[in-house]
Amino acid sequence: MTQGAVPLIDYSVILPVAICFIFGAGLLMMRKSIRWHPLIALPGLVLLFLADLTLLYRVATQGTVTMMMGGWLPPFGIAFTADLMGALFLAASGFAALCCGIYAVASISKVERRYGFFPLFFIMMGGVSGSFITGDVFNLYVWFEVFLIGSFGLLILGSRHEQLDGATKYCFLNLVGTTFFLIATGYLYGIFGTLNMADIAQKAAETDKTAMLFTLAALYFVSFAMKAAAFPLNFWLPASYHTPRFVVSALFAGLLTKVGIYAAIRINLMLFPPERAELSAVFAWVAALTMLVGGLGALAQTDLRRLLNYVVIAGIGTMFVALAMPVPDGDAVPSSLSVGLSGTIFYALHSIVVMTALYLAAGVAAHLTGTSSLREMGGLWRSNPLFAAVMLILLFAVSGLPPFSGFWPKVALVRASISGDLPWLAAMVLVSGFLLTIASARVFALGFWRPLPPIAAADRKVEPGGVVEEKFLAAGPDRALSAIPLFALTAFVIAAGVWPQWLFDLTDGAAAGIVDPSGYISSVFGDAP
């Protein structure tokens, strides 16, 4: 019943998760010597990113790799299967985490370090990394809960009134969302008697219980839409994401909602393709309304971070577009589903990087001006031209304007929507991009371009030194530590925007592996049918 000893190289599959928990637990044990926390956490995050890149390289060159826990024969043991999509998400999340970690060294105060910022950070990263590489549905649920509990801790760190308010809503709604996931998984086990994704993909293709699978797919979609904050299940996100520290917001906005997208692609698209096609009208409406709600919501906000909350939601809607594509009919190569899915994966990677960067930049702006309200901000273009240029690039990217990373995935999605006979959805992508452009332009014009408003300027004269009141704890005095991550993230945004082909090659491969999961299945079960 076992495969024998697991080859040593296969341990690279679980290395990202192992690193997170080793460092998380180690830092927890060192809670009395918090001076050492940054010095240990940063190498840990570098190691995590390197492990993610190694795995991505291995998957990109050799195809999907699987490690069966304990060497049990599939489908009995828990499988960890890294395919190209999972490895890409993993690498992007490791990159965002490293940048947030560097920024956190400067911005997280001693008190918060004592309350366990870095251990919680690693536990959350462990959960996120585990979600991207697990090949078992129940295990995916467990990773959801792991990163959720880590995010709860990070969210309330500081325990200000708004945080407790936002956290209450975040915790209840996310708990209900993941419980939906568990309910669906219970039914899934009842129908198939297995939890291994590759096994389910095989059995679902053969079964004729379509009515049951249809219900199941709908249940899964509800839970992932809730996790990803898709309309009409998005209300927890704008209620909570602007309350914690800026670096925590950046981490959440970059990673957590994308896990929901990832799971929706993995379960709804890879495991239940016919049911996904039946539901595609629902996906199309959800995608369109989410994009619209995000764009309009962003226009209505005064606070910079609350504006960004809605920008996250608009991005989520854009990523759901691929799920609305019709079934590939075999004539067109590549099919609109493959093109759309490739665009969605590209967009998700871009969104991980750019949303992290935007919240970090919002933190720097709030630190420099002493406020995060667009009414009182101003004058940053004159005082910090380099930072303002970085912000301009990020705002261009998030609105989907060329030549930055948000443009190409939107091109792919619009192309796929038109070839998939959904021209109104293509129009919606463009309308949402237009609304985001207006919102971004407002941020830049009000916060950066215009001179400092007279009221705010009068307040500021009271305290010399430029910084008014340290109520944000956004970026510490050490400016290099807040500049390095911003520049690194912006470098990716430019690289993926000016030379998109290398990333498109990867996401095309990832999309092909989802549309036709035979590589995934043979990686788990071996080549024998």
Partner: protein
């Protein structure tokens, strides 16, 4: 037996939904407890209830000789119990702290993170 359990699960879910739809945090907490239990019972029922023989393989055999109870749902439920228990503990403390700080357990009045009278964003320069 399975039919009876289905009705129990349905009843528990009905109570859960009713409690969670309340606007008072304390009732929502009770709903969360019931939610965890109803889901656990649902998984248990989904694993089929057909035999009372414990899942033990006799000595000398590689596979069980007769129909045995399904051990996997029990492992799943055990995991789910631990998770829902720890989440409930966290939610309980969080709700208590929120009640202390915000002086209310009415979700309609918890508007500190999203103030109601914020006014319009700046419309010009």
């Amino acid at each position: 037996m399975e039919i009876a359990l289905c009705f129990v699960v349905a009843a528990l879910f009905a109570v859960t939904v009713y409690l969670i739809l309340s606007k008072h945090i304390i009732r929502m907490l009770l709903g969360v407890v019931l939610l965890g239990n109803s889901v656990n019972l649902l998984i248990f029922t989904n694993g089929r209830i057909q035999s009372i023989v414990p899942p033990i393989i006799p000595e000398g055999l590689e596979v069980p000789g007769e129909m045995i109870a399904n051990p996997l749902p029990q492992a799943l439920i055990l995991t789910a119990i631990v998770i829902s228990f720890s989440f409930f503990a966290f939610l309980l403390v969080l709700s208590y702290r929120a009640f202390q700080d915000l002086d209310t357990d009415d979700t309609d009045e918890m508007r500190i993170a999203e103030p109601e009278d914020e006014g319009l964003p700046p419309l010009g320069y």
